[in-house]
Assembly symmetry: C2
């Protein structure tokens, strides 16, 4: 926040100017605020909201059909002036009076309050609805002392929908007050925010700690704790907003809000934990929102807001809206808990082997996969350590995950009586799907290539295994594009397959050839280990690259070594 | 990013699960991705996009009417598997073939590429369109080596709209390739990102520096520089994406994208600077987007993407869309540059004074405001320094800004021949509107209260001035709710007004009374200065609070002192 933005003043006024330019399909600029580009119906109640800047999309993002008619914006964390509120009120008035919505802050109360007096003196019926959703800011017996925070979005959305539906000013005021009475929020901060151009944050939270109940301008919270796991954070937020739950309340609007620097994906992780709590308590969610809707510049944190819905509130919460902050068609249906959502799937069906020999061959492939899986689990940590030297350290994990999935997939197919080809295909797909990374794709494709030499009628022969390995190696070379010496899987795979190719099946058993090939594979893998040791910690990371150096040669050699035990069974 | 999220794996899979739950009105869950909740028309071309996680709302946010039919998500910064792509392709296929869209990364090319082969082998016509918009990733003569970054949003939006309009697979492929050919992006990072659970960032940018041309997974940029002002950053981004502008290109889609930790309001500040460059070069914007659409976890930075529009591309860019990432009604009209937008305003009209005396009284008020303004400019820095000790240091600035605005407003009204009341009202409104903060509201209201004792017929009398000050003081006490001793304006205002009240007009001139009152005001202000000195740097900040200690008493005393010069003129 300190970096690319100049003075505080410029930040707010320039930001508003840009906002009015970017969203000119929805809003029309006015000094210190925005109006709807297409004014609402004549005679309608005007919904005018506002407050300080620094909370985007709160408040200017709320203007548009189904939401506010106008917004008045102050400087950063500062109320707009009396004059700005009154002027925008006059411009936005459509003849039906004005309902003003803003958070319960002294500056806003003063400026909106006096502006409302002026408008009333001019004959414009003007009402005020102050949001007070932050349960941390005062006890429940003094709600009038509570601050308005992210609850603004839900309360003002309902206010805007009611006014657009044609409610008169008494009814808009009443439904908005009810919406606020039904709304609770609680926030947690992991770190503070800095004003544009300021060298320091307004407040900070110590590393590894979190501040509970913090406001959206750095108002003091109620306590500090060590940062907890997502499940505990979710439980804390949940319990705080639920503490004042009315006994009959069952249906609710929910907003899990990011404070500014919080990634939406982080909110998603937290949402998973929250969602099970709602389900546990038999509560029904309607059109939940997850995202950064009420921010505090670059504050790192989140808040949970809930609004208990009755029929009237629910109708307005579901109503369509088209504003910069929130664009939704009319929302239908109740939210199904994640655990009961219908997940799209392809039917799984394994062809049964045509002969008993073929079914035995299927079992043999499944045993091979079980051996691979066991050896990969054994070496997982060691492979991870070697990988961490030059790569991102996930090779052991990926191999273990892939081999485990392959073993399970193969076992399932074999137990349903599938033949070698079907079992191998199941293993290939499971490995490729679950392992992740390049090595997962290569192993999946290698097994898949191998499977194309098999069928569901025959037993497994030594010749087929030899040919299968050659085909698998070819596929790896084709798609991985690595050469021997590139410090990849190929460093072991190539000598292994050469050894199999050089072997004379008429003169030695497959078991003997296999063991020689395994020895060659281990020789090939030595170079990788040496390379990793030299390379040190100059890491590459995550740009979806193929074939970066990893201990793939070593894991391959270990895998082939494990399979040697099966070779005696082959004809 | 390190704080509330567990392992990398969980982060991506849990995040996707939450996404599919939250947006269940738009999407339907599938393992490793999402489908549209309401599948598109039978026979339509299926648009399937995807890539790694960690870029939200890229890619899962792109599913919905007018956008993609399905999305396939990998782990963090990792491609989805062949199996996931193929499975989701089969589930999403509506009979019209599949066009796959993804960025040009080795892992994605491998996994989507092989999945496409599989689908083709099963009889599903499958095409691939790879995005290559990042101009920093390779020279213009090797576009096939360029990465796909934020351009994805525009290219896939056009792809999705074409498929929903009923284009056949050749046409969808062709228009998508054209969209990509017309798209360029360039990014700047101010700081790197950390993987969930990782103790360190993948990369860092040194304090005060910015990295040009960085990729979205920490791929190396092309150079590093000192952080520049917004105008220079805008010029850099602009020049980079414009370097390959086709000679006839005039109309464009634009995305100013935040990398994750960048506040939208920061992007707005940058947008102002960019927008003037588009206007300068006579370019026409169509439905620009500003926000965090292609992120890299918590990376701090931004990118600019432009797509040169021909009629066909523009039609699809303007088409309605309803996805988690982007919800827009059909967009009409060209974007008017900010400098030419029509700003809503109330007409300004000053009543002319009814008599020459009254016009002279108006001039006298204007002179008073000019004196106030001059003295506030003189003391601005000193007042700021004192305020910074206990407050946020903006008192001097606010007073200077308010008084300057009041002087201008009064001068304009007086020059149009307005009387005392109208001139004072103009001054009050301008002060209250421009000063900001509580002191601005108080001064504006004080002047306004004073104005209600005036009229546009009479000259200004000593009695009126005395009464006006008493009325103004009452208004300040009424709305500010501060008491003498609270270290606010009231500490000087109260003794000042008491002195005026105690004065005997029959025995001394207003000038004499005024001077005594000024001395009392200065005495009252002394306490504030002493308090500020004791208080040290325990600051309060920005929570819209009223009446926190500030040098308001001192600025008031100085203001009244400046006005003494006018008192001799009063009868």
């Amino acid at each position: 926040m300190v970096d690319i933005c100049g003075e505080e003043d410029d930040f707010a006024t320039h930001g508003l100017r840009a906002f009015n330019h970017i969203f000119q399909d929805i809003v029309r600029p006015v000094r210190s605020g925005a109006l709807r580009a297409q004014p609402g119906k004549e005679g309608k109640v005007t919904v005018l909201v506002g407050g300080g800047s620094g909370h985007y999309p709160t408040f200017c993002g709320f203007v548009g059909p189904g939401f506010a008619d106008a917004v008045v914006m102050g400087g950063i964390f500062a109320s707009p002036s009396i004059q700005a509120v009154a002027t925008i009120g006059r411009l936005a008035h459509r003849g039906g009076g004005i309902v003003m919505g803003f958070g319960n802050y002294a500056g806003d109360n003063l400026n909106f309050g006096i502006a409302a007096e002026r408008l009333r003196a001019e004959g414009i019926d003007t009402r005020i609805v102050v949001t007070t959703d932050d349960v941390a800011s005062a006890p429940s017996d003094t709600p009038e002392r509570r601050r308005g925070v992210a609850g603004d979005i839900i309360v003002f959305k309902i206010m805007g929908a009611a006014a657009d539906e044609g409610y008169d000013i008494d009814a808009v005021e009443a439904v908005s007050r009810k919406a606020n009475d039904h709304t609770r929020s609680f926030g947690i901060a992991f770190d503070g925010c800095a004003l544009p151009g300021a060298p320091e944050k307004i407040f900070t939270v110590a590393e590894g700690r979190m501040a509970l109940g913090l406001g959206i301008h750095g108002e003091p919270g109620i306590e500090e704790r060590d940062i907890a796991a997502p499940a505990e954070i979710a439980a804390e937020l949940y319990q705080r907003v639920m503490a004042e739950r009315p006994p009959e309340a069952r249906r609710l609007a929910v907003l899990l809000n990011g404070a500014g620097a919080t990634a939406t994906e982080e909110l998603f992780v937290l949402w998973n934990e929250l969602e099970v709590l709602f389900e546990r308590d038999g509560l029904t969610l309607v059109a939940p929102l997850v995202g950064s809707y009420a921010t505090s510049l670059d504050m790192y944190g989140c808040s949970l807001t809930i609004t208990w819905l009755d029929q009237e509130l629910e109708r307005f919460w579901r109503a369509p809206v088209n504003s910069p902050a929130l664009c939704r068609h009319a929302v239908e249906g109740d939210w199904v808990p994640a655990s009961r959502q219908s997940v799209a799937e392809l039917p799984v069906h394994y062809e049964r082997a045509e002969t008993a020999d073929a079914a035995r061959a299927g079992q043999c492939i499944a045993r091979a996969m079980a051996l691979l899986s066991r050896t990969m689990q054994e070496h997982e940590a060691m492979l991870g350590r070697i990988d961490a030297i030059a790569g991102d350290g996930d090779h052991g994990q990926g191999m273990a995950r892939g081999a485990r999935a392959a073993a399970r997939g193969a076992r399932r197919a074999a137990d349903e009586g599938a033949g070698a080809r079907t079992v191998m295909e199941a293993a290939a797909d499971a490995w490729g799907d679950r392992a992740g990374g390049t090595s997962g794709a290569l192993w999946g494709e290698a097994l898949f290539a191998f499977s194309t030499l098999l069928d569901d009628r025959s037993s497994l022969s030594a010749a087929t295994v030899r040919q299968g390995m050659i085909k698998a190696a070819r596929r790896v070379r084709q798609i991985g594009k690595a050469e021997p010496g590139d410090k990849t899987l190929v460093d072991a795979l190539a000598p292994f397959v050469s050894a199999l190719e050089e072997a004379r099946p008429e003169a030695e058993t497959i078991a003997a050839s296999w063991n020689k090939a395994v020895a060659r594979a281990h020789e090939g893998a030595e170079a990788t280990k040496a390379f990793a040791a030299r390379r040190g910690r100059a890491k590459t990371h995550g740009n979806h690259s193929l074939g970066h150096p990893d201990p793939g040669a070593l894991s391959f050699a270990l895998a082939m070594e494990a399979l040697a035990a099966l070779m005696d069974d082959l004809a």
